[in-house]
C-alpha cells in the first residue's frame, strides 16, 4: 500500500517537471503568459474539467469509469435552471448540486447492485440523463443572470482572487485530504487494486464505489454550475465530449483504467498542464484543430515516458 503511494509520488514528480518545463517554454514564447490575468484565465478555463477530473480520478482508482460526466453537468444545471424564476440563488444552487449527486448515485447503484459494467452503465446514462434534461427544459437555455450568488461563483472576487479559483483550490485540498487520509478514501485504493483482499479485510466494495460515483456526480454539477455562471447561460447542451478529455486528464495524472492507481495531486498537476498547453497553443495562434493533434501527441508521449521510467513487466 505504501509502495503504491510512493509510486504515485514518482509519477507526480514527473508531472511537476513537465509542468515547469512547459511554463518556462510558455514564458519564453510569450512573456504575457505570467500576467496575473492570463494565469487567472488559464485556471478559470481549465478548472471546469479539472473539478470533474477529481471525481473521475476517484472512480478510476476503483477501477471503474464514468462516461456520463458531461451529461450529469448539463442535466443538473438544467434542472436547477428550471427554478431561475424563483429568484433565489440558494434554491437553484442546491437543486443543481442535488441533481448531480443523485445522478452519480444512480450510476453507483447500477454498477454495484445491478452489476452492469461501468462502461455500459455510464454509456447508457450518458444518453438518458442528457435527453431527460432536454425534455424537461424543452431544449431551452435558462438565464441565471439575475441570481447574484450564482453568478458570483464564476464572476465574483474575494479581494484580488477570483471566486472560481478559490473554489478550485478548496475542492482540490478537500479531495486530496479525503483520498489520502480518510478511511473511505484509502479504501478506494484497496478496492481498486485488490477487490478480493478488500472484501476479506471488511471493506465494502459496493459502498466505496457508490460513494465514488456519487462524489463524481456532485463534482460534475459544481463544474457545470461554474461554467453556466461564467457564460450567464444554463445550456442543456453543455458538456458534450467532456468525458474523454476528463479521462485523459485523470490518466495523465497517474490514474489507470485498471484501478488502484491515481491521486488527486497528480490530477491537479495534469489539469494545470492541460490548461497551460491549451493556453500556450492559443498564444502561438494554433487553430483548435491543430491543437487536438498536438495534445494527442503530448498525451501519448507522457504515457510513454511514464511507462519507460517504470519499466513494468506485463
Amino acid at each position: 500500500m505504501i509502495f503504491k503511494l510512493l509510486n504515485n509520488t514518482g509519477n507526480n514528480v514527473n508531472l511537476l517537471i513537465l509542468f515547469f518545463i512547459l511554463c518556462s517554454f510558455a514564458v519564453f514564447i510569450s512573456p504575457a503568459f505570467l500576467d496575473f490575468d492570463n494565469i487567472q484565465n488559464i485556471i478559470r478555463t481549465v478548472m471546469v474539467l479539472g473539478i470533474i477530473a477529481f471525481g473521475m480520478t476517484m472512480v478510476m482508482i476503483l477501477g471503474e469509469i464514468d462516461l456520463s460526466v458531461g451529461s450529469i453537468a448539463a442535466f443538473s444545471c438544467a434542472f436547477g435552471g428550471l427554478f431561475v424564476d424563483s429568484n433565489s440563488s440558494f434554491i437553484v444552487i442546491i437543486l443543481t448540486l442535488l441533481a448531480g449527486t443523485f445522478c452519480g448515485f444512480l450510476n453507483g447503484i447500477g454498477v454495484t447492485i445491478i452489476k452492469v459494467p461501468s462502461l455500459i452503465m455510464t454509456l447508457g446514462t450518458m444518453a438518458i440523463i442528457r435527453n431527460v434534461g432536454y425534455i424537461m427544459t424543452k431544449g431551452q437555455a435558462a438565464y441565471p443572470t439575475k441570481l447574484e450568488i450564482y453568478m458570483a461563483s464564476a464572476k465574483g472576487y474575494v479581494g484580488i482572487f477570483p471566486i472560481p479559483v478559490i473554489i478550485f483550490i478548496i475542492l482540490s485540498i478537500v479531495c486530496a485530504i479525503l483520498i489520502r487520509y480518510s478511511t473511505v478514501g484509502k479504501s478506494f485504493y484497496v478496492v481498486g487494486s485488490n477487490p478480493v483482499a478488500s472484501i476479506l479485510s471488511g471493506i465494502s466494495n459496493n459502498s466505496s464505489k457508490i460513494i465514488a460515483f456519487t462524489v463524481c456526480g456532485l463534482c460534475c454539477s459544481i463544474a457545470g454550475l461554474i461554467q453556466s455562471a461564467r457564460l450567464g447561460q444554463i445550456d442543456p447542451h453543455m458538456g458534450i465530449g467532456w468525458e474523454l478529455t476528463v479521462i485523459a486528464i485523470a490518466v495523465l495524472g497517474g490514474a489507470s483504467l485498471y484501478g488502484g492507481k491515481g491521486s488527486i495531486e497528480g490530477t491537479i498537476i495534469a489539469t494545470l498542464i492541460i490548461g497551460v498547453i491549451n493556453n500556450l497553443l492559443n498564444l502561438l495562434g494554433m487553430s483548435n484543430h491543430s491543437q487536438e493533434v498536438v495534445i494527442a501527441i503530448i498525451i501519448i508521449s507522457m504515457v510513454l515516458i511514464h511507462n519507460f521510467r517504470k519499466k513494468q513487466p506485463s
Partner: protein, 419 residues
C-alpha cells in the same frame, strides 16, 4: 465602368415597380450591387488576399439578390403575434403575410397533408424559433400535420431522416441544412420521389430543390461593414467570430462584410470559427484579447457568438480598450432579445436582424408546391427572398441612406427575455 453601372442601376431603380413601398429592400439590394467586388478589386491588398483564401466569391456570386415574391411590400410593424408552440415563448413574426395562405383547411380539404420538418439543435434559440413559426403555420390549417425532427448536428442523420420521410411518403419536406454539401443527395432523392422540398435560411447543394427561402445573409454582412465604415474612419483591428467554414451563413456574411470594408485600412487580427457556440466564442475571444492588445472591432456572424465574445470582453475589462481609449466596436447579426438588449445597454454597437421567423414561409411554400402538383394553384418561385431588414442601433442614424431602427422600435426580436 463603375459610373455607367451606377447610372444603369439608378435608372432601373427609378423605374422599378417596387420603387415606392419596398424602399428599404430595394435600397439595400442596390447597396449590395454597389459593393460587389472581386478580390483583386480590393484596395486593401491584405484584405483581398484573405477574401480570396476563404473562397467567398463562390458563395456571393450565386446568392440571389432580387425583389420580393408577388410584389410584396414589407414595412416595420407588419406581422402576427402568437406563442411559440414548441418553446412557449412570445413571438411576433414579421413575415406572416408574405406569400399568404388563408387560415383553415388547405387544398383538397378531404385529404390530410403531412409535412416533414427536419433541422438541427432545437436547444438553440434561433433554431427553435424557426421551428416554432413552421409548426404555428401548420397548426393554422386543420388538415396539415407536421413532424418535427432534430438531427442534432449530424448531416448523415439528417440525410437518413429525409430518406425516412420518403419511405413514409410525406407530402412535402421543409428543412434547415447545416451545411450545403452533404444535403444535396438526400434532397435530390426526395425530389426524384415526387416530394417537394423547401429549404430555409441555409442552402442545400441540390439543383432540383423546389424552393429556397433565403434570409438576409448579404444584407447582414453588408450593413455590419457599412456601419463600421461610418463610425470607425476606415481604420481598425478586427477580430472575427465566424460560423463553420463552408456554411452559407459564414461565407455570405463574412464575404459581404469584407466587400464593404475592402477599400479601407482595416487589419484582420484574428479570424476564428466558433460555430454558433457561446462557450467557444467566449474562449476564443478571450484568447484573441490576450494575444492582441489593440483590438478595436469584433465582428460576429451570429448572436450566440457575439454574446460569448461580449462576456469575454467584459470579464477581461476590455470594453474600452481600443487604441486611443475608445470602445471596442461590436458588430452583431441575429436579433435575439438578448443582443437587442445589449444594444440598448450600449455594450453592442449594431445588431443587424437575421430573423429565424421564416418557418411559416417555408411551410406555406411547401403547401403551395403540393397544390401545384395537384393542379390547384401555381407553384411559388424557386428562390424566395425575404425582405431586407435595416440595422438596429442605440440612437437613430442614417448610414448609406439606410435609416436605422432603435431597440424600442423593433418588436420582432426572438428568444427568451433578457434582463
Amino acid at each position: 465602368m463603375k459610373l455607367l453601372r451606377n447610372l444603369i442601376l439608378g435608372t432601373i431603380f427609378l423605374f422599378s415597380t417596387n420603387l415606392y413601398a419596398a424602399d428599404i429592400h430595394s435600397h439595400i439590394n442596390n447597396l449590395i450591387a454597389e459593393n460587389q467586388k472581386g478580390w483583386k478589386e480590393f484596395e486593401n491588398k491584405e484584405l483581398g488576399k484573405f477574401f480570396k483564401k476563404d473562397g467567398f466569391r463562390d458563395f456571393l456570386d450565386v446568392y440571389p439578390v432580387t425583389s420580393l415574391t408577388g410584389g410584396f411590400e414589407w414595412k416595420p410593424g407588419m406581422g402576427r403575434e402568437f406563442e411559440g408552440p414548441l418553446s412557449g415563448l412570445p413571438i411576433k413574426a414579421p413575415f406572416s403575410d408574405y406569400i399568404p395562405i388563408e387560415e383553415g383547411p388547405v387544398l383538397n380539404t378531404d385529404k390530410t397533408y403531412r409535412i416533414g420538418f427536419v433541422y438541427h439543435w432545437g436547444f438553440h434559440p434561433w433554431l427553435i424559433s424557426l421551428a416554432d413559426t413552421a409548426v404555428y403555420e401548420a397548426n393554422l390549417h386543420a388538415n396539415v400535420e407536421i413532424e418535427v425532427l432534430d438531427a442534432e448536428g449530424d448531416d448523415n442523420k439528417m440525410g437518413q431522416m429525409i430518406d425516412d420521410f420518403i419511405a413514409k411518403q410525406m407530402d412535402a419536406i421543409v428543412m434547415w441544412p447545416a451545411r450545403e454539401a452533404p444535403m444535396g443527395p438526400p434532397v435530390e432523392r426526395a425530389e426524384a420521389a415526387g416530394i417537394p422540398v423547401v429549404s430555409l435560411d441555409r442552402r442545400a447543394a441540390a439543383p432540383n430543390i423546389s424552393s429556397e427561402v433565403l434570409g438576409n445573409f448579404y444584407a447582414n454582412g453588408l450593413q455590419q461593414g457599412l456601419y463600421l465604415n461610418h463610425v470607425a474612419n476606415g481604420e481598425g483591428n478586427i477580430v472575427m467570430n465566424r460560423k463553420p467554414l463552408g456554411s452559407t451563413a459564414d461565407s455570405m456574411r463574412s464575404g459581404a462584410f469584407m466587400e464593404a470594408i475592402g477599400n479601407y485600412n482595416y487589419v484582420i487580427s484574428e479570424s476564428m470559427h466558433t460555430n454558433s457556440s457561446r462557450k467557444a466564442a467566449f474562449e476564443a475571444t478571450q484568447d484573441a484579447l490576450q494575444a492582441h492588445d489593440d483590438v478595436s472591432v469584433i465582428f460576429n456572424t451570429g448572436g450566440e457568438e457575439a454574446l460569448g465574445a461580449l462576456d469575454a470582453v467584459l470579464e477581461a475589462n476590455r470594453l474600452n480598450s481600443a487604441p486611443g481609449g475608445g470602445k471596442i466596436i461590436i458588430l452583431v447579426n441575429d436579433d435575439s432579445k438578448e443582443t437587442v438588449n445589449e444594444v440598448r445597454k450600449g455594450n453592442m454597437d449594431v445588431v443587424v436582424p437575421y430573423t429565424p421567423l421564416l418557418g411559416g414561409i417555408g411551410v406555406r411554400a411547401a403547401i403551395l408546391h403540393i397544390g401545384a402538383k395537384e393542379g390547384l394553384n401555381d407553384a411559388p418561385p424557386k428562390q424566395i427572398v425575404t425582405p431586407n431588414l435595416p440595422m438596429i442601433t442605440k440612437e437613430k442614424m442614417v448610414i448609406a441612406g439606410i435609416e436605422t431602427i432603435t431597440p424600442d422600435e423593433w418588436p420582432y426580436a426572438y428568444g427568451p427575455e433578457a434582463e
